[in-house]
Symmetry: C2
Subunit: 308 residues, 2 copies
Amino acid sequence: MFTVLAGGVGASRFLQGLAHATDPSNITVISNTGDDVEMFGLHVSPDTDIVIYALAGAVNPETGWGLTGDTFAVVDALQRYGYERWFNLGDRDLAMAIHRTRLLHEGVPMHEIVAGLTAAWGLQCRILPMSNEPIRTQITGPDGVLPFQEYMVKLRTETDVRSIAFAGIESAPPAPGVLEALRESEAVILAPSNPFVSIGPILAVPGIRDALAASKATRIAISPIIAGEVVKGPAAKMMVTLGHEVSAVGVARIYAGLIDVMVIDEQDRALAPQVEALGMRCLVTDTMMTSDERKAELASAVLSQVAS
Amino acid sequence: MFTVLAGGVGASRFLQGLAHATDPSNITVISNTGDDVEMFGLHVSPDTDIVIYALAGAVNPETGWGLTGDTFAVVDALQRYGYERWFNLGDRDLAMAIHRTRLLHEGVPMHEIVAGLTAAWGLQCRILPMSNEPIRTQITGPDGVLPFQEYMVKLRTETDVRSIAFAGIESAPPAPGVLEALRESEAVILAPSNPFVSIGPILAVPGIRDALAASKATRIAISPIIAGEVVKGPAAKMMVTLGHEVSAVGVARIYAGLIDVMVIDEQDRALAPQVEALGMRCLVTDTMMTSDERKAELASAVLSQVAS
């Protein structure tokens, strides 16, 4: 069994490759729910949904999130009732949120809801929320504290991040199956996701970091930073304002002590010695994932580290 | 002030005429909420919404409910999660349900929600739910008890109605403003709606029938039965199975003792003496409402009874 700690777009692309490189029924995804949000009274889990849509081949390839060909009649119509339009939830995407919200109100735990969604989309892999309890990533910028989606979508990350908190995390145990997956996997892979707001909240759930540290699995992280930049999202900007070196080495330092292998891009080959100096192996390979073939090749290269 | 007890399609057409025949700000609508339903975890108020959409000029004229040109992406997408498709809620119609549901979960009382919706659609009239508490019309047929929308929409009324109940009504007081409207209006008009499942539940809310009986208003009912048939809905079929004469006289008998004037169609002119024999005046006029002009003419004819 392979377990992947996953955020949104970057993780979903890696998982597409992994599901081609190995039997998807061997894959367990631990999904970040720190960027979940209540919009229009509906519970939206952006990262989990991106992973489901991507693995189902239904994700909008232009945005990396949402459904291909979705329409926006409901969010348009909601403006009449005073809602802002910045959270662009498509109609078919919203159907999933309606279903999830109904089940949550009925008291169904999130891991069962996600299992049902995964099955509804015909996926063979297992997706677990990091916790069944609500955890909300909050960004502190120069003008105060923002819920994550307001920072991410409404402000388009155009504010300096000074600190990050995960509200509710102290009393949020890992979802059923999470710790077992970390203990019993052959490999635990930290997807090429944002270390602060995608992988960070997962590791901050009480018990998860310790279980990962104690796991006999090969622990492999893939750098989301390539040639000093990020493919998508605010990771590079956050590294700057939070005082990190914006490079694969900076990412490796964040995960140092917790991982056995760091995967960096060919373009960063010169950084390998610095990564290895942190006490981990360094795999240099193509991590750009610009096609289905390259996604699967990256996954195969990562899995080759497990056998070795 | 004129107060109208209103169901769905028939009432909404009459109200369109009334809003042309008089200043809409003089109109108070008391709306049936007995056919409210939870669909996909969302609270839908079919009768109230039909009235709002009709008065806003946005109702789909072909169906009499829903919004002109609405799409159905969400209900289509919900089928993946195991929902049945029989309740055909359009995307823009669903936006209203999402908004209402959010407010209900936040504890906002229904009459405030409806006031907000009325304002959002730019209406000048006042619409009051019959009660802020949940009341659910239930139909007993040969195979047992059905929630109203299952009878109405899923079974397309194709079952014999043996009895009708309004679950929760004993403990459901009239919404704020309802009794005052009945007491202080110049006229109370029972719209040409189903006497059993549209007007019936309103009159069954504790206190409403008594307030209407004691009111000094001119009380006027418009028959939904024309020439032994109903323009829309199951009223005629219900009259048969519940043992009533299917005619304007049958309707007048149901309201006898509670109204001062019964309005019947030209086609039923010969029934006027039978109606008057029940102790009420009978206005014979065109009640078909097949055009905006005829709707307004009917409303003017009804209002002429108030002055007299």
